[in-house]
Amino acid sequence: MNEWLDRHMGRLFLAPAVTLILIFSIFPLIASLIMAFTRIRFSAGGYKVRFVGWRNFEKQFFGSEQFHLVGTFTQISVLGWIVGLSASAALLWWIWKYIRGPFTWVGFIGRLITLGMGLGLTWLFAATFFSGNQFGTIGTTLFYVLIGCAIQFLIGTALAFACSQSIRGKTAFRVIFFVPMMITPIGVGYIFRMMADTTKGPFSEVWQWVGLGNFAWATDPWAARTFIVIAESWQWIPFVFIMMLAAFESVPRDYTEAAELDGAGPWQSFKEITWPHVLPIAATVMLIRAIEAFKIVDLPNIMTSGGPGIATESVSLQSYYAWRSLDLGSASAIAYILLFITVVICVSFFNLVVLARIRKQQ
């Protein structure tokens, strides 16, 4: 018995994790996929399931919910054509370059999927945002991910770099900067609703002073989206900060000192030594942030309930609202669309940016 245990110990160590993930992650994933093709109704003794084929997906992409998920389409404007065509050209050139370079089928197919997603999103934005139409929850989610992550990266990295210098009160700053991450997202949502109140909030005088006393951020789509990004950034900058701080502190001091001895200025030593050292970590950190940001649901739900109109609704929130009205089929279909987009974008980013950097360094 003991001998058997010993022989299989390697597997037994891995087994619990794999089993749990299979049961609570893979199995629900499959079940969810099946549900996406059904309509489910609750009644005594459980639920009734009816298969409806692709109807749930059709409704989202082409039917009555099109405006909600992808956006409203009319004519593509001149600007839309310019943006769409130039971005498409850039994408095609990128794949052409790959075909001419060291070619593998796996790499090619992977890039084709990335290309498809890139083209789809390009034209989605070209036909909605750049043509003066409203985009749907996909556009809003991407806005949160791109702008939010950019802000978090810039400020978080700057803070981490500042904290990695030899300064006093490092510990205090480190703890203080970490605090927003410890607050439940629900709480952050409500705190920022208080902050953003133009009549009773702490900054109401400031609002009055700049002549926006009567301005209601929650009734303007872009202002509302911006506020949500600000709240989200406030909460997650600590994460970037703490990771990047670790990265900066891991840069061997000898290197930078040696560089300065050689007469390199601080900017040069940062550019030549420090930055290349932390770059792979930065890419990983941003990948993690992006993965989490795609799931955003609590903040828009608390701060605006997705309004005004559908301006601040994320894909996750749309799925959640569908679940709330017991439309489980649509909820699953929307969730799967989100999953697909997230996987393609994040895996592309991982393969093309993170791995590429690591390979280059080695």
Binding site: G10, V18, L29, S250, D298
Partner: protein, 349 residues
């Protein structure tokens, strides 16, 4: 000692390893401004918890005793009038987040350790076959009402009989890196994708609205983070000690418990803190899986938005504050580990 020949600019230090005065001013200004940005909303939260309705609605008021008369009514409401609800939610939150974190860190670091020390080469086809059987079992139980024990038994039997045969068709073997990537990639799943089936699963075994359901779910959801951080951490630990222990006849489990875990204190502390924060603050899954008995603090906070009477800002602030306190205490205690612990994991990417 060689001195720089050029005359240093204002942002350059006169001596190596030291900052110029101007750099210092900019640096401290930046750090202080950001501290203000972080702390002001929290200050506002704290004073709101001592305000009453009029102070909030006719605001803004900034300084207690100067602008407004602080009162303890919101604290009383939560801790005297409604202490049962508050206490229950608080205890639930503590039990759930502690257990989920412990489970997640234990199982996750075991997996991470195994992946960093043992070579695996599972057959991809066997795995796909297994997933296929899982899907069929799910279909049979969920849609056609087959008894789940029967379905599971059939599936297990089929798997053991046919696994080898199917696996031999093609020999495509996965490596440790693939398994690692697969586990970490689970984090991409938005909870909303899987939450409805998870709800139904727990319902079918009558575990809805219990601690266990939420604990297991949180443990699984956070496991990818544990595996990711701990894998790199274990990789960075020198293997000599383990090897000599193994030569002395120690089993893997003994080595893990007595040598590896104590060596990875810092990594474990940082990971624990991170997972703890995530489980403590989680809302969506808790909302799905609890009804009344297992409600956690975030749900209590959300419940302070009492539609018809507006948001009860004061009691909500109290609830948020009492939610932050234990995490802050924990973070201060563990703070020296946070950076060090994450360091190793992060550096290796």
């Amino acid at each position: 000692m060689s001195t720089p020949i050029r005359k240093p600019g204002i942002f350059e230090s006169p001596r190596i390893g030291e900052m110029s005065r101007a750099t210092k001013v900019v640096l401290y200004a930046f750090l202080l401004i950001w501290s203000l940005i972080v702390l002001f909303p929290i200050y506002w939260l704290i004073i709101t918890s001592f305000k009453d309705a009029a102070d909030v609605n006719q605001g803004p008021f900034f300084i207690p005793w100067v602008d407004f008369q602080p009162s303890l009514h919101a604290w009383k409401e939560l801790f005297v009038t409604d202490y049962e609800d508050t206490l229950r939610a608080y205890l639930n939150s503590i039990i759930i987040s502690l257990s989920a974190t412990a489970l997640s860190v234990l199982i996750g670091s075991m997996a991470a350790y195994a992946l960093s020390r043992v070579e695996y080469a599972p057959n991809l086809i066997t795995i796909l076959f297994f997933v296929f059987l899982l899907a069929m079992t799910g279909l049979a139980v969920g849609l056609y009402g087959v008894d789940w024990r029967l379905a599971a038994a059939v599936a297990v039997a089929l798997f053991f009989f046919l696994a080898r045969a199917v696996g031999n068709l093609y020999q495509v073997r996965l490596k440790n890196g693939d398994i690692l990537f697969w586990i970490i990639s689970q984090r991409i799943l938005a909870p909303i994708v899987v939450v409805v089936p998870i709800y139904m699963m727990f319902q079918s075994v009558k575990l809805l609205d219990t601690h266990i359901a939420i604990i297991i779910t949180y443990a699984v959801v956070n496991m990818p983070i544990v595996v990711w951080l701990m894998y790199d951490f274990f990789n960075s630990i020198p293997r000599d000690l383990e090897e000599s222990a193994q030569l002395d006849g120690a089993t893997m489990i003994a080595t893990f418990r007595e040598i590896v875990l104590p060596l990875s204190r810092t990594g474990l502390a940082a990971t624990t803190l991170l997972v703890m924060i995530l489980s403590w603050n989680e809302y969506l899954l808790a909302l799905f899986l609890s009804t009344s008995k297992a409600q956690t603090m975030p749900i209590l906070v959300a419940a302070m938005n009492a539609g018809e009477r507006g948001i009860l800002w004061w009691t909500m602030s109290v609830a948020i504050i009492v939610m932050i306190i234990p995490v802050v205490v924990l973070a201060v205690v563990l703070q020296k580990y946070i950076s060090k612990g994450l360091l190793v994991g992060a550096v290796k990417g």
